[in-house]
Symmetry: C2
Subunit: 131 residues, 2 copies
């Protein structure tokens, strides 16, 4: 696989617990826990609850970000799990959230972000983590 | 094309202006302007400058989010432009940022997020925008 600065999981969580998806405090807590489960380090975050329903928010970590938008009325959550560096595993965050949301079905696409060859970084360089 | 709640452009900006990519105030200003250029409505945001260099941040808009991570040392910026609803155009934000960063080369992948059929929304429903 090509070397890259980061990995980004674009995740769609279907058939989730609707009450959890509409609870901004719970969502913020779970997104922060997911980033810690992945091995990431929290830097800053912002969350917002919409009227009549739905939550949006992002957690910036030293290794990139975790973002979410929820549609409780559909039991659907749109989540981005983006981490940089070898010491983190975005899939651990994904599995944590799938369970926490009680999602019965999920779809994912994984992107390599910042592919060394495209940027012009020597392939033999170690993974770079902004910290 | 399938109907979806949102569109998400995963963008890689190469060969950017390195000084801009390391200026947290400028990056926050440009990301907010990009969201407005797309027709989105600002809700909240958070940005952080890393040491020795690099900026990360996210702008939550009523229509989803704009997020960025920069590696000034490589002239590279990793950007997510995610909007919901027919009244916004994420590509306007993309074009704005490409010019603002003076990026000489970019790559994009566009995702449909929250495809109606997957969620179980009637295909004849209007686009949903959380506001």
């Amino acid at each position: 696989m090509a070397k890259s600065l980061g990995r980004h999981i674009v995740a769609e969580f279907y058939e989730c617990d609707k009450d959890i998806l509409d609870d901004v405090d719970k969502i913020e807590e779970l997104m922060k826990k997911a980033s810690i489960e992945s091995g990431a380090t929290l830097v800053t975050s912002t969350f917002h609850r919409f009227l009549p329903h739905g939550v949006s928010g992002a957690v910036i970590v030293s290794e990139s970000h975790f973002a979410i938008h929820t549609w409780p009325e559909y039991g659907y959550a749109s989540v981005d799990i983006y981490t940089c560096g070898d010491h983190v595993d975005p899939w651990k965050g994904f599995e944590f959230l799938k369970k926490a949301f009680n999602s019965q079905r999920a779809q994912t696409v994984e992107h390599l972000r910042g592919v060394y060859e495209e940027i012009g970084i020597d392939e033999n360089s170690p993974h770079k983590v902004e910290a």
